[in-house]
Symmetry: C2
Subunit: 261 residues, 2 copies
């Protein structure tokens, strides 16, 4: 077994970013596996490392197997007899927020989770130094291994169990996916009026600067928090041909108002 060989199963946003971080700080001995030859090759070429797209070509007895695929594909992968044989009771982890660690138990007695809390894109490789990595493992020995790996790429490694991690992932959906969509809705509203999105950038900057320093619930502003029914009514009228946005507007406003009063 070559020392510190890491097999990454997956070639998506998380897998790509993680592979670059591991290569930079930990080992050149990486193998990329993905469902399609194209995606496996694409990432492997960037990393100058071998790749495979058939499970039977995954290397045996690597030091660490990282499964970084869609959350709902992990279960199926965990039932692969071929993969189980390859792993041969070595350490296998996944990178998913909402899946329990023991979903990997069918693959190996030595399993865990390596969950970097960040939003990744394939075409923007991030520095992991400040990215929180939530780790969990089936034993103290495996935990120590993951801690060693994680600490080499990030200064913020946290011991988080499967139950907590689900809530962290849920919180991240609100903080990232939903804030992004709220801004996307703003962009659509402006576009229809031929107003450039850049008019909102100073507002977005200040919104974020404030959140960094204070609990967002303490700095809530706007018509909903001050119960400005006149404005709420005007805004709901502007959205009358967009029932879905109207619903989002009224539910979020109601929630802001109830939180405040």
């Amino acid at each position: 077994m070559p020392e510190n060989q890491i097999v990454i199963i997956g070639a998506g946003n998380v897998a790509t970013n993680l592979a670059f971080a591991l290569k930079k700080h930990l080992t050149d001995n990486i193998h990329i596996h993905s469902r399609t030859e194209k995606s496996a090759k694409q990432l492997a070429e960037k990393l100058h490392c071998p790749h495979s797209f058939k499970i039977e070509n995954i290397p045996e007895e690597a030091d660490l197997y990282i499964i970084s695929i869609r959350d709902d594909a992990i279960r199926k992968m965990s039932e692969s007899k071929v993969l189980k044989e390859k792993i041969d009771n070595n350490l296998v982890v996944h990178t998913a927020g909402s899946m329990p660690a023991n979903i990997l138990k069918p693959l190996s007695e030595n399993f865990g989770v390596f969950y970097p809390l960040q939003t990744f894109s394939k075409n923007k490789i991030l520095d992991f130094k400040n990215i929180p990595i939530c780790i969990e493992a089936s034993s103290g020995f495996n935990f120590g291994k993951l801690l060693k790996y994680a600490s080499q790429i990030s200064n913020d490694v946290r011991n988080i169990n499967s139950e907590q991690r689900k809530y962290i992932h849920l919180a991240a959906v609100f903080a990232n996916n939903f804030t992004n969509r709220m801004t996307g809705i703003a962009e659509e509203i402006l576009k229809e009026q031929n107003i450039d999105f850049d008019i909102l950038l100073p507002l977005l900057q200040e919104t974020f600067d404030k959140i960094k320093k204070e609990n967002p619930n303490k700095i809530q502003t706007g018509p909903a928090v001050r119960n400005d029914t006149k404005v709420l009514e005007i805004h709901l009228n502007l959205l009358e041909n967009k029932p879905d946005l109207q619903k989002i507007y009224s539910f979020v406003s109601k929630n802001i108002s109830e939180k405040a009063h």
Copy 2:
């Protein structure tokens, strides 16, 4: 009439920030009026300027009257006969996003809007240099006046009519108030699990960095955009005792998913 006297009616978040900017870049001759003596005095003392809390003590014939109060209080103020006499057909503007300019017509033939697109707090005085100021006026002459004032405090002055401004305000509610609340919900979810909010800061930073550079609708990530029904189901279960958050989660997710597919 002293040259360039500006009367600010209101002492809230917008009025406070605007008063500081006007004093810094335009004139020392500012008068603060507010409904309560306490709030008027508080702001006037910071600015070293006179104040009033009874409409009959507002100065006559100032160069500019800025009404910066709750949107739903503007209409009542615009019907004040006493204020009308004080203004004596000089220029009066409001700072509200969703109110038309001509709501001020009963006060003066010379009216307009001076709407800074930003989220303000009394205890954090912002530099206006990059804050977009949306102006509108009842005549070319009045527009010229407002343009002159606005250009002295900001490099981004825009000619925006009342209809457009309503949509800008609506977009700002999504981009600021709702993104802030989404982050607030994230904070609450973590707090219940005794997890520190700071775990989300790198994610928030990256979310914002991406939005600055790309259309948020093009960079949407998360379970909803990839139709990861397994995760959506897990998250809805975690929120089963919070029906309001559950509704927000499912409506926003549905909206993200429909936008993408």
